[in-house]
């Protein structure tokens, strides 16, 4: 179960941000934006094994006392960040990957809406609902 999801565009500007607990929103926004540095670092290390680089899933970016942050970057340079509660030990790597894949699917769907201009913030009600379902694991 994720507590926060963010979609960052190519130019590192946020396109979408969703937090299950509105009080923690500001704190998470800060953490998410700082994790972008780690994303850049991972993308730029070309000396590691080629297999690692070819995957879209980046794994855990960093871990805080109470939360863990995971990243995923598409071929089209869109970054997805998921923040998960550390106390939730049951969440395995596979489940995080699966959440990212569903998120990527949702994003690919919204891009196909001819009335959505890529680069704008995403303000679709159905997208909100779908993302919340992914976060709470009800999908």
């Amino acid at each position: 179960m994720a507590v926060c999801v963010a979609i960052i565009g190519k130019d590192n500007s946020p396109k979408y941000f969703c937090c299950l607990n509105p009080d923690e929103e500001l704190g998470f926004q800060y953490k998410v934006l700082s994790s972008l540095d780690v994303v850049e670092e991972k993308l730029n290390t070309t000396n590691k094994g080629t297999n690692d680089l070819r995957e879209l899933y980046l794994g855990m970016l960093y871990s805080l006392e109470t939360h863990k942050i995971y990243g995923y970057v598409t071929n089209t340079k869109i970054k997805f960040i998921i923040v998960v509660d550390s106390t939730n030990m049951a969440l395995r790597d596979n489940e995080i990957r699966s959440m990212f894949r569903k998120l990527h699917s949702e994003y690919a769907d919204i891009v196909c809406n001819p009335f959505y201009i890529p680069g704008d913030a995403i303000c679709s009600k159905s997208f909100d609902v779908n993302v919340k379902n992914i976060m709470t694991g009800t999908v």
Partner: protein, 159 residues
């Protein structure tokens, strides 16, 4: 959708619509304004690449991306691969299709050469849109000398 006919006809009607819109405005130069057709292609390419590359691993480099455009991408859209890819390894690529889908319906004589640009504008846009979304900004133009063969010139813009 099982039929190519729908896309062929939609493409033709799209061109007719844009040309008729252009007639409404005053035109000075001899060259037709095909930028709207190109833009529709750009928008389509930008969006379709998002869906196509969803399950794919990350591209290694620019050449890898170009090869993808010439093979899987072109096959999916135009039922065949690009016949020839040339590059100067400095950001210029030439993609040659010897039997371009939208030109095969026009007879191969010289008389349709004038209107050939209309039929390649959309594809120039698709290429430009797809590459743009993959992080490669570029200019795409097309050269038609012997129908139905067509060459797409891609000039990558380095920032």
């Amino acid at each position: 959708m099982s039929d190519d006919a729908v896309f062929e006809f939609l493409h033709s009607e799209l061109i007719n619509y844009i040309i008729s819109q252009n007639e409404g405005k005053s035109k000075e130069g001899k060259d037709e304004d095909l930028s709207n057709i190109e833009y529709i292609g750009f928008s389509t390419g930008y969006r379709i690449i998002e869906r196509l590359t969803k399950e794919m691993p990350r591209f290694k480099d620019e050449l890898d991306t170009m090869k993808f455009i010439c093979t899987d991408f072109w096959s999916a859209l135009y039922k065949k691969q690009i016949d020839n890819l040339r590059t100067n390894h400095q950001g210029v690529y030439v993609l040659q299709d010897n039997s371009f889908r939208f030109l095969t319906k026009l007879s191969s004589g010289k008389q349709y050469l004038e209107v050939a640009p209309r039929f390649v504008a959309f594809t120039c846009g698709i290429i430009r849109g797809s590459l743009a979304n993959l992080g490669i900004g570029c200019l795409v133009t097309a050269e038609v000398q012997n129908m139905p063969s067509c060459k797409f010139h891609i000039q990558v813009q380095r920032t």
